[in-house]
Amino acid sequence: MKNSKYKITIGLEVHVHLKTRTKLFCRCPNLYGSDPNTLICPVCTGQPGTLPVAGRESVRQAVSAALALNCNINEYSIFERKQYFYPDLPKNYQISQYKLPLAENGYIKAGGVKIKIDRVHMEEDAGKLVHREKETLVDYNRGGAPLIEIVSAPEITSPPQAAEYLKKLRQILIYASVSDCDMEKGSMRCDANLSLNLKESSRLGVKTEVKNMNSFKAVENALAYEARRQESLLLEGKNIVQETRLWDEDKNKTAGMRTKEEAHDYRYFPDPDLPPLIVAEAFVEDIRESLPELPAAKMERYIKEMGLEEYDASVLCQERDGADFFESAYEKLEDKKEGIKKLSSWISTELKGKMNAAGLDFKSLEMGPSFLAELVNLIQNGKISGKMAKDIFEIIWTEKRSPAEIVEEKGLSQISGEDKIERLCRKAIEENPALTDKYLSGKEGTIGPLVGFVMKESRGQANPSMVNKKLREILNEKK
């Protein structure tokens, strides 16, 4: 959309599945991946006479999420019935929040821009539909699972920014331990509203709603497609039809839903089965205090207090588990000031490389952070060289043993004793008179092969910079 006369306005509605043990309004297990219709009860299948009873943990996690998104929590909020007939909705209404949501007026910073969050509200999930050729199968295992819906203000200005917003949102909610936000598994779902208007106009254009995007990339692609589609319609002088369009990943395009678009009239009204949800200030403060440090604050601390570069800090903060790993390794560094840079690069390159290759994440990682700290310590105090460290790391990775133990066992400790190095250096000089003479005559480049000789003699265990220094010392005496 470069050089276009239109600008894009995007608002995102994101549904996130909370990580409670039970469903929102009944005590069925809140699990993913069980056999169909095995996690159901009279309440979540809408049997006559059943009543919803809200779980404390769902409320706690929803409040955690809202606080992590910088929202104001409403002390008094109301559950309402959103009515429409659909087979995945056992009561043919969904218990959701409408007029008085749990939380409002938050924001997140994505790509250096503050994006406003209008509201965060709680609701129950619908069941899952499986479409066959002639019939649709309904599984209510997911029905009634606790969700939060996070509604952004229509302030997102490009598809990449939308993806950036989602990534940030995901990162924050995983940090807050309220969801695993897995778009493929459906624990994070995103619908988008997109409209175009002339750059010089402040009036928003007609929007379309885009659904069925199952990854961040899909969101970006779908929105980019939809923006182009709307632009070409507008350029042709045609009108945009307000409708819901589905993203087709394979065809790489959006298509209007074929069903007759009925004017929705959800007939919301307060659910008479549920008294108001009162979230006391003390409850909120309690949750606020127990919230973990969030990525933005963590990054700032890494930069300001630990002295990391912004890029390194952002890589380390990407995931909470990774940051936790980094921090516990950092605690064990002997020389924190000097070792931090090395530790950060070991985590971001060597360790992550191995993890990616093995398909592991920090949760499933068997190697403890203390091993990496020890390794950095050994490098820092000159016991091993960087090259040796890489070899040792290989052994740690496969054998899960402490680096000190490996060094000791294999006799790999770097030779740094002055005497031993001096002895080897003198030997090198004695046995290489030609090189020595050249050096003394001013061709200092010959120091290289002499260092090489010493390294070979020490089977690689000498500290090369010390060797270099010692050789020069001895040779300079001879000048």
Binding site: G49, N92, R267, D271
Partner: protein, 478 residues
């Protein structure tokens, strides 16, 4: 003055046993099949339960406060393994997968469920005539309606099939049939009896309560079924006081108000006369009677016929023939199947109320109707609270008329709706109210009067009603 206590005594002393009591009850039920009180009878299961109780008694185990007492349950309450039809073609085949909390408590106390009673379809009606299984007949005059919607529960107690039954009251559905059938019916404070397992009509108005032949029996049943239930978010977390233990205390000095609006031209003279005569007896026993005013009564029917259908339209949406219920094949698509199922299964009154409720909630009307009605409801509640600053109880007719003839009002829906005018307010305000038979009209049909009290004033209501009941029966004997 308690059928339950005397039956229990007979069973425990060995002069009767639970099995014979249940058998007797079943015999009366089958003899009176013309009354059409029952939708499904569970005789075999009841007899099995009875012999279990007899066994317990033999072994000297505690058989419970209601041991061997046969009871009836309105067919909108779920009892695991039994059908719960709601008197609708929609749920004709529905087998309850769990038991309602109130019923569970009755069973735990040793009560034996004989069967499920007839009612207006989904409790929508005031005459019993909207039942898909045909109207229930009033045992006192079989040409007349027993009232509704707990028609069968009231009729079967009145006909002495069982000493007590459970009913539900959304706008008078316990009290009005109790009045028409000449027995006691109590709608408790909203929230003291769990609604879990009661097919909802209007969630904010529905309340389960006892129907019995005496005040003491109603008090005993309510003591058993009341109490906090974590399965119902609207359930009140408070301990249940003993209603029966103080029932014989004096009513000296109890201040009772008679609302002028309930005693005007719209109320049949014989009804007014009986209520006035009863109030004189109350005064004789030491109560202080005064006239009070509830001017907002004239809005009660309007408020009710907005809120109740609105909630009902959502509550009944789940009946789509997918998970349970009648399923019709439209030959077209899924949506047409749902419409076909609902169209075929629901009777006209249910359709009318669902449509009315859908209308008042639809966009453009919600504020004018639903929100307006909620505000009016708050005012009605406040008006009661004001009156209760002045008096302890309100005493008034339960219905403007005695039992009307079957078919008499089916032609004029508005007239039918307006006949609920005196019972609706207690539901709107959430306060307790009890119907007590206080006399007979010239056709020997029972006249019912209700005591209404402040929140959680059941104890005072039972005590006062019990005193009046005693006084009435002794003056009858004279």
């Amino acid at each position: 003055m308690s059928r339950i206590i005397s039956l229990r005594k007979a069973i425990l002393s060995g002069s009767k046993n639970a099995s014979s009591v249940v058998k007797e009850s079943l015999e009366k039920v089958s003899k009176d099949s013309n009354l059409n009180c029952w939708i499904n009878i569970y005789g075999k299961e009841a007899l099995e339960k009875a012999s279990e109780i007899d066994e317990k008694i033999k072994k000297g185990e505690d058989p419970g406060r209601l041991c061997g007492i046969p009871v009836a349950v309105k067919d909108n309450m779920l009892v695991r393994g039994m059908k719960t039809t709601n008197a609708s073609r929609m749920l004709n085949e529905y087998i309850s997968p769990y038991t309602a909390t109130a019923v569970e408590k009755m069973q735990a106390a040793g009560a034996i469920i004989i069967g499920k009673t007839n009612m207006d379809e989904f409790a929508m009606g005031s005459s019993g005539e909207t039942s898909a299984f045909g109207a229930t007949r009033n045992p006192i005059d079989t040409a007349r309606s027993p009232g509704g919607s707990s028609s069968g529960s009231a009729a079967c107690v009145s006909a002495d099939h069982v000493p007590a039954a459970l009913g539900s009251d959304t706008g008078g559905s316990i009290r009005q049939p109790a009045a028409f059938c000449g027995i006691v019916g109590m709608k408790p404070t909203y929230g003291i009896v769990s609604r879990y397992g009661i097919s909802p009509f209007s969630s904010s108005l529905d309340q389960v309560g006892p129907i019995a032949s005496t005040v003491l029996d109603a008090a005993i049943i309510l003591e058993i079924i009341a109490g906090y239930d974590r399965r119902d978010s609207t359930s009140i977390k408070k301990e249940v006081p003993g209603y029966a233990e103080t029932i014989n205390d004096s009513i000296q000095g109890v201040k009772i108000g008679i609302p002028a609006e309930y005693m005007q031209d719209g109320t049949d003279p014989p009804v007014r006369d009986s209520v006035l005569a009863a109030s004189e007896l109350l005064e004789k026993m030491g109560a202080k009677i005064k006239e009070v005013s509830l001017p907002l009564t004239k809005y009660a029917v309007s408020v009710y016929y907005i809120i109740a259908p609105a909630e009902a339209s959502a509550n009944l949406a789940r009946l789509d023939g997918i998970r349970y219920g009648l399923s019709a094949d439209s030959g077209k698509d899924f949506i047409s199947d749902v419409t076909a199922s609902r169209t075929e299964a629901f009777g006209i009154e249910v359709k009318r109320r669902i449509m009315l409720g859908t209308y008042v909630l639809s966009s453009g009307y919600y504020e004018d109707y639903y929100i307006k009605a909620q505000k009016a409801r708050t005012l009605i509640k406040n008006e009661f609270m004001e009156v209760f600053k002045d008096v302890d109880l309100i005493f008034a007719p339960t219905s403007p008329t005695t039992a009307f003839k079957l078919g008499e009002k089916t032609g004029d829906i508005l007239k039918m709706y307006l006949s609920d005018v005196f019972t609706i307010s207690a539901n709107l305000a959430g306060i307790p109210a009890l119907n007590l038979p206080v006399g007979r009209d010239s056709k020997n049909l029972p006249v019912g009067a209700q005591f209404m009290g402040n929140y959680l004033s059941e104890k005072l209501i039972f005590r006062t009603a019990h005193a009046l009941e005693k006084e009435l029966s002794s003056s009858e004997k004279q």
